[in-house]
Symmetry: C2
Subunit: 131 residues, 2 copies
């Protein structure tokens, strides 16, 4: 399988697949013409990576998860720890974004949005830190 086929089948851009080879996440064979030659196993790995990435795991997390995936003697506790740590980070990020959202919602609601210069959004931003 050439990279284009793999790309359509696993849903990752060819660029991304090359990058994953670059950083050692996959190691496809090479044909005589120099083209990458992917086996089903490589495709499966790439699907795994794609799925993990859509769940927001970092590349380093993916590396760890992949190693655990391929280690038949793993402890599920190790997997769970990676996932739970990641989950916590996501929850933190959500909380941060929700704080921004709430403030912004208030400000946007308070702004007339007309052609006059008076604007509570700018008023908030321009407030002195002490105030």
């Amino acid at each position: 399988m050439n990279i284009g086929d793999v790309s359509t089948r696993c849903g990752l851009p060819a660029k991304t697949i090359r990058y994953y080879e670059d950083i050692g996440l996959v190691t496809p064979a090479r044909g005589e013409n120099g083209y990458r030659s992917f086996r089903e196993q490589d495709l499966h790995k790439l699907s795994f990576l794609g799925r993990a990435r859509t769940l927001g795991f970092t590349i380093e997390d993916c590396r760890t998860l992949m190693a655990l995936y391929e280690d038949e003697t793993r402890a599920s506790a190790d997997v769970k720890k990676v996932a739970r740590d990641h989950l916590r980070k996501i929850e933190d990020k959500i909380a941060d974004l929700e704080a921004m959202r709430d403030t912004l919602t208030h400000l946007v609601d308070a702004c007339a949005g007309d052609n006059r210069p008076d604007c509570p959004i700018l008023k908030d931003l321009g407030q002195d830190l002490a105030g």
Copy 2:
């Protein structure tokens, strides 16, 4: 005022302040020794930028907002548009993260987290796309 004083007063790292000068967001004067010499007005600008950044606005948004802030003939509608567009992006991000969170929460709850290899998290990640 030297950069260190400004840094403590506006809460931005000196590195960040230098960066903001680099990209033209502030233009402090220079003393004879080559040191940046900040006026109250510069400090105020930097506070504005810091506040806008904590609300998640991009640097380009900040540039726009700053220009509006300094334009006495602005229309509040223009400010509101920037804020609302940004708000929409934040809401999208929250939705994405919540989807991740929900999936991860399910998976983490389903994982025994013991020393056996069986793991629903890895099972999910390793699933074929068709499945």
